[in-house]
Symmetry: C2
Subunit: 473 residues, 2 copies
């Protein structure tokens, strides 16, 4: 049957019911009113089919995406008095920074290119002991949040001290956070011992219960800084509250050597023996993991976070990213803290580094593809945080966490492949608009939730204070 | 003698001659009028003493720096009707991109994550054969120049086709260039054979003789794409005109294996045998060089250029940067072209990558320091280009090529160490003002010499054209 004939038949069959229905009863399609339509962008969904919708539109109601598709389809079904024009821009899922220590931004560049021992013992530990207060972490978090929002981050996982203050600031900034109070086997700036840390953490978990943005978590620092009891009791507390557990895992070779000497097994295997591993654990770094460790992490559905800038800058080593992906490990991407481990919180820069580091290490330009690196910063990052039902892709039912990237810049032209452009060519400077849970957080590069000038002023003040506290000039 | 007494004696001895001189004859210090004073910045000189002048001022006359020092000192001696306030900003020597193929920016992202063979034979070579014309290289160069200026690059070394058109655009952009016409052992988009290429190049060298910004050069592509005659005659032509010679050297392992099989020696040793190596050669990559090669490059004063992003992305390997520096090789930094080898021309991003790649490779956080990476992008880059008498540092007698970086951003605070901040924390987005040879090229992030909107429009047009030429959709 020729197309013209088929079309005519279809037309007739469509019109017939209308003709036979009295005018008053005709089904006028009702459009649903929603809070916002994001209209006309190149929508990179990161859904299971990896759909890229050329002239796409999202319908957003409350904090949730209710529809996504070609513009004409969505506009047939939804209407809104608020429209965000995304024509000629990329619309991406908000990026997920899987590992950081936000307030350390106030210490970035304090002592670089130093050996880890010198850096920790002569700079970071004394600086933290003398300076870290609730006020310090509040301003440090604001500075960190500014930087993360500018690079399109909408969700981040954090481990530091006074985490309750960090949570308050994160919520005020409008960001989504998985925020873990650090529990460590020596006196910390906030809690002098384990008992106090546990009590603080329990109060912290209670405080944020049910919050739509803040996921309070428990952060036993690592196998090498925490006793067996500390690890076990931290996990027990977290599980009683159904809270995530954040930990550093196998970041350095000495850490693994020490674990093998002390416990006879690797840090991952040791945690497995303790019953620590599970689908609520987020493990940062995982550089010095062997095949057995990788299998354990996959089997227990542990989320892992790769931090390429930090791993390179601290000379920690190269994580077996391709092996972990092949084994089905939930693997996200992180910046680490911006003192020592990194100097920025720019997740846009971690994507190319992740790809480049695997390529050069394996001497294979296809070792990690642009699309995979972008997945690590979005849907796979969400899987690592066990939040893939809420964030990480643009799909109906998920939170309206999204980013608009400007393509009208030298970085944006010409455009042959969206994943390649995002990962290798576009920069944080091209992030134009950021929305979290349907709320506009950054619009045309202006942060709406934080007073940037005030933060810069305070950061300089803290810089002076830290320098003085260490007798630096 | 106590200080107070000493001061009093000095005061008396200073005043005495004045008192004894009749009023009319007193030496009123004459201030010299200059074209511009850049006032009050944190001036990072990169001179031999690595002076960082906190409240520094530069006096600029014509295209040259005539004085630099503490503000009070310079202002005592110089006066100008034009003043550029740099208070609270970093003032750096203009950055030097030691290796690129500017027009390839129009091909960036055309086919990524592909094997080198697939990428070259199925995408780049056909795309070049069907699209590269004088108009293509002109628009490609404009796009590349925009991007480079935005990242603080003031001088760049280029190798491509129709280099005369590239030179014209570079000069129009106000940039300094060492620009080499590529000579290669097969038909190129501009010249069908070696004879035509040589004739074109000689005309090109004549055309730009004596230009203050453009240094026309000869670019025999590499040992693996050029015959012995081609290499020798290219070098002979260059030397007849005292022009620089640009070449790719030991970028891949197969290239070195092939050279050893064919000539019995490494590419560097082969070039040495031909009398090719000298203080006028700029060799890009130098990844697969052994101790003997490094010694040769050092002994012949060859300039070398490290391209970390490209080397990682193409999985080429890790250059022995620390070994080359130790051997005294003139070693600069480059982006490579932005198709395949890289996707941007952002030299600010090459600095951290250079440091990170050496650190992680040597498992030593002190393998390459921030200051060394910054030197590679400035004074050592100038040494690689054999132009250290003209550019690469802020010193009297050198060209007024400089960059102002804004510190009033989240990337700029707090500031503990300038080198660390520049290399690890600050980004191209913080580059605010760029001056080349005393001429303002970018002011408050606005490019003054190129119509940005027009370039973006043309780049999109060329994107469509290239896609169609390869039957891509």
């Amino acid at each position: 049957m020729c197309c013209a004939l088929l079309n005519r038949l279809l037309l007739v069959s469509c019109l017939l019911p209308l003709c036979l229905t009295p005018l008053s009863m005709r089904a006028v399609p009702q459009k649903r009113h929603v809070d916002l339509l994001v209209v006309g962008g190149i929508v990179v969904t990161m859904d299971a089919e990896r759909r890229v919708i050329e002239n796409g539109t999202l319908a957003i109601d409350g904090d949730t995406i209710v529809a996504i598709g070609p513009r004409a389809d969505v506009e047939t079904r939804f209407i809104s008095s608020r429209r965000l024009d995304a024509t000629g821009k990329l619309v991406l899922p908000g990026l997920i920074n899987g590992h950081t220590h936000a307030p350390m931004t106030l210490l970035r560049g304090l002592a670089d290119d130093a050996s880890l021992h010198d850096w920790l013992n002569n700079y970071i530990f004394p600086a933290e002991a003398r300076n870290v207060t609730p006020d310090f972490v509040a301003w440090g978090t604001r500075l960190a949040d500014l930087e993360m929002m500018h690079s399109g981050v909408t969700t981040y996982a954090d481990m530091y001290y006074f985490e309750d203050d960090i949570a308050r600031e994160t919520k005020a900034a409008g960001m989504r956070g998985v925020l873990a109070e650090t529990i460590i086997g020596f006196p910390a700036p906030d809690n002098k011992d384990f008992a106090h840390a546990l009590a603080y953490t329990e109060k912290f978990l209670n405080h944020w219960k049910g919050d739509p943005l803040i996921h309070a978590a428990v952060g036993p620092h690592s196998v090498y800084t925490c006793s067996k009891d500390l690890l076990a009791e931290s996990a027990e507390l977290a599980r009683r509250y159904h809270a995530p557990i954040l930990i550093h895992l196998s970041e350095s070779k000495p850490e693994v050597d020490e674990s093998r000497a002390k416990y006879g097994v690797s840090p991952a295997a040791y945690l497995d023996e303790l019953g620590f591993l599970g689908a609520d654990v987020l493990a940062a770094h995982c550089i010095w993991v062997d095949g057995h460790d990788v299998a354990l992490l996959a089997r227990h559905d542990v989320g892992c976070v790769h931090n390429p800038s930090s791993n390179m800058l601290l000379a920690s080593g190269v994580a077996p990213v391709t092996q972990m992906i092949a084994a089905g490990v939930r693997l996200g991407l992180g910046t680490d803290g911006s003192a020592g481990g990194n100097h920025d919180l720019d997740l846009m820069e971690e994507m190319p580094r992740a790809a480049e580091l695997q390529k050069v290490t394996h001497r294979d330009p296809q070792a990690l593809l642009a699309e995979q690196a972008f997945a690590m910063a979005t849907i796979d990052g969400a899987r690592a945080l066990h939040m893939e039902d809420q964030v990480g892709s643009l799909e109906p039912g998920k939170k309206a966490d999204l980013v608009l990237l400007n393509l009208d810049t030298p970085d944006g032209v010409p455009l042959y492949n969206v994943y390649s452009q995002i990962v290798y060519a576009l920069k944080a400077r091209d992030v134009e608009t950021v929305m979290i849970g349907g709320r506009m957080i950054m619009e045309n590069r202006r942060i709406l939730t934080i007073d940037e000038a005030e933060v810069l002023h305070k950061a300089r003040e803290y810089g002076d204070r830290v320098r003085k506290s260490l007798d630096l000039h």
